[in-house]
Symmetry: C2
Subunit: 361 residues, 2 copies
């Protein structure tokens, strides 16, 4: 078992990473100290792992709330259903919400835990690679609004995260690849050595070799943790984690959410960020090709849909990270070092957009 | 204008207290720095004060969301309507929610501000005595659930509070008196001198003499602030603020919420706490009569409904502050000094309950 400690003072918590942790009573006992547990999962993950986790929670009172699967259920109304379940089970302030599933379940369950009696304990048991490397670090919880993604939510740190890497065996391969895009992101913004390691170990990761997966999850959590600890409430450095996201947002929004997986859109977005960085003279052409090659070997798309540069710019500007009309982007000053900037020639961005989205609007 | 600073480190904020602050552009400018404002009010308070406050906010973009009046609308669904309004107005993270009204409006608007984009600024403009002395200090926001009061919410400190004491002139007298019960509470748990002052100045307070009201609001905020600062997340000392509340809960629950005003039930509850404190030898009989006399002179009820001691005990035990079957109560070791304890003879509590609620179940 590997362990990463997220150091947030009184809100510090451990991430436990390894095989078979789901029903490892010692690991589960360390993560969940409450006697009353509300297990929140969905109709896909629940039937696969609910019983094993409940066995690991032996001796507690465990109630289960199983939600429908999918991002379209990440709404305030679904949070209300979890809150109803907490009230119906007469859970007290010392109860714990355990989220078993991917990022959507973690976001919903975490927000419900944040709101119930003004905040109760919350433990994440992420079962997707994306959730293990991204959603489980940072304390962001919340739901979508018809007017925008993640517009409603709270910062609520979990008490612990249990990342059982064996659960990735039931993950659809397309989702595994999308999760790898976020892993690559950590290398690109913060750790050139990790990027090298990823290039060497991509086959092992795609084959779900336990040691490679555990290392990738651990290192990703460490990198995200270092950034989050420096900027818990997202006022500065944390924006680095949005590498590829503003470009990716345009892809997701143009295609309609759900067509592209988030990680797929972010992958293409990172390539565009590399392209723009190269136009600014920060990366060489060979480095841009290195990014493209890594994404291709991970089985990720590298071509954006041909929506036209004009439409793409419009969609990017609608992203909530835009302040007073100026689009701040995460670029790379070199591979392994992200930089947040709004200080680039508009023409360079236009060229990047045209070369990926096509020049017609 | 008087000023109380709530000292919570990076979440510190000022409470501005005085006459005519609602359209005092300098006071409003100090409290609200945002350019985009969502003014949340209700159908009773809005028509009275909305225009004046909007005038004070001259130069900003002000959108208004007017909610129906009453505690029964303090629900997650109503919070959703405020969030809808924030999204519809395309408010950004740097927008500010301004709550104009009593405690219900403050609770709803504050919770919406806590959830929107994971937390935006929030300014309270309380227009009831209860809200000015209680709800505006402490950062508690939230809504009711059919299963219990205030079960859903967040701790979210305001950026500032503007207590315009002139707004109390439109407050129904019964609500003014109920608010005074909470003012008396601060004297009883924390400040014998303030209790003396209240006894001398009760007529001035009931007549809404500006200086007396401003002093009562300021001193109440100071006392609550000192307690909240020591225990922001309600793990210990903050329980002192519940003097009279557990007894009062039984009255409110038995009568059906809405029959008794909260402050009225708390008033009788404080008298019962004094009675039990006397049975423990901590207060003399004359001191209990002093409490009763003060409540009576404030025009507050001092007799509980005859629901029987058994039923009252049952309702008290259902209160969420009960841990593992033991009812912790706030009592007084002397007038002006509250103490939280579960260490009293059950027989003494039974006698207090029987003498107030009657002995039959």
């Amino acid at each position: 078992m590997q362990r990463v400690t997220i150091d947030l003072g009184p809100r510090s918590y451990p991430i436990l990473i390894g095989r078979g942790l789901l029903d490892d009573e010692r690991a589960v006992a360390e993560a969940v100290s409450a006697r009353d547990v509300m297990l929140v999962t969905n109709e896909v993950v629940g039937p696969l792992y609910r019983e094993r986790l409940t066995r690991g929670l032996r001796g507690r009172r465990v109630e289960t709330k199983q939600l429908p699967d999918g991002e379209r259920h990440k709404t305030l109304e679904t949070v209300g259903r979890v809150l109803d379940a907490l009230v119906a089970a007469r859970m007290n302030r010392d109860a714990c919400v355990v989220a078993l599933g991917g990022g959507v379940i973690g976001d919903i369950a975490g927000f419900a835990a944040a709101c119930y009696q003004r905040g109760i304990d919350f433990v994440q048991v992420p079962t997707t690679l994306l959730a293990q490397v991204d959603s489980s670090v940072g304390g962001k919880t919340g739901v979508n609004h018809p007017g925008g993604k993640n517009l409603i939510g709270a910062f609520h740190q979990p008490r612990a995260v249990i990342s059982d890497t064996d659960t990735l065996r039931t993950l659809p391969e397309r989702e595994l690849r999308a999760g790898l895009a976020e892993v690559v992101k950590y290398g690109l913004v913060a750790d050139a050595d990790f990027l090298d390691w990823l290039e060497s170990n991509l086959p092992a990761l795609l084959a779900l070799e336990p040691e490679a997966i555990a290392h990738a999850v651990r290192r990703s959590c460490e990198i995200k943790a270092a950034i989050v600890v420096a900027d818990e409430r997202e006022h500065g450095a944390r924006a680095l984690l949005n590498l590829g996201h503003t470009f990716g947002h345009a892809i997701e929004a143009a295609a309609g959410y759900g067509e592209w997986l988030h990680g797929e859109a972010v992958g293409v977005g990172m390539l565009m960020a590399a392209d723009l960085s190269a136009r600014l003279g920060w990366l060489g052409a060979a480095e841009v090709e290195r990014v493209r090659g890594l994404l291709q070997r991970a089985g990720l798309p590298t071509a954006a849909p041909p929506i036209g540069a004009g439409r793409a710019l419009e969609l990017m500007a609608m992203d909530k990270k835009v302040l007073a009309g100026r689009i701040r982007l995460v670029l790379m000053s070199r591979l392994g070092e992200g930089v947040v900037t709004g200080d680039y020639p508009a023409a360079a961005l236009a060229q990047t957009l045209a070369s990926h989205f096509g020049s017609t609007a």
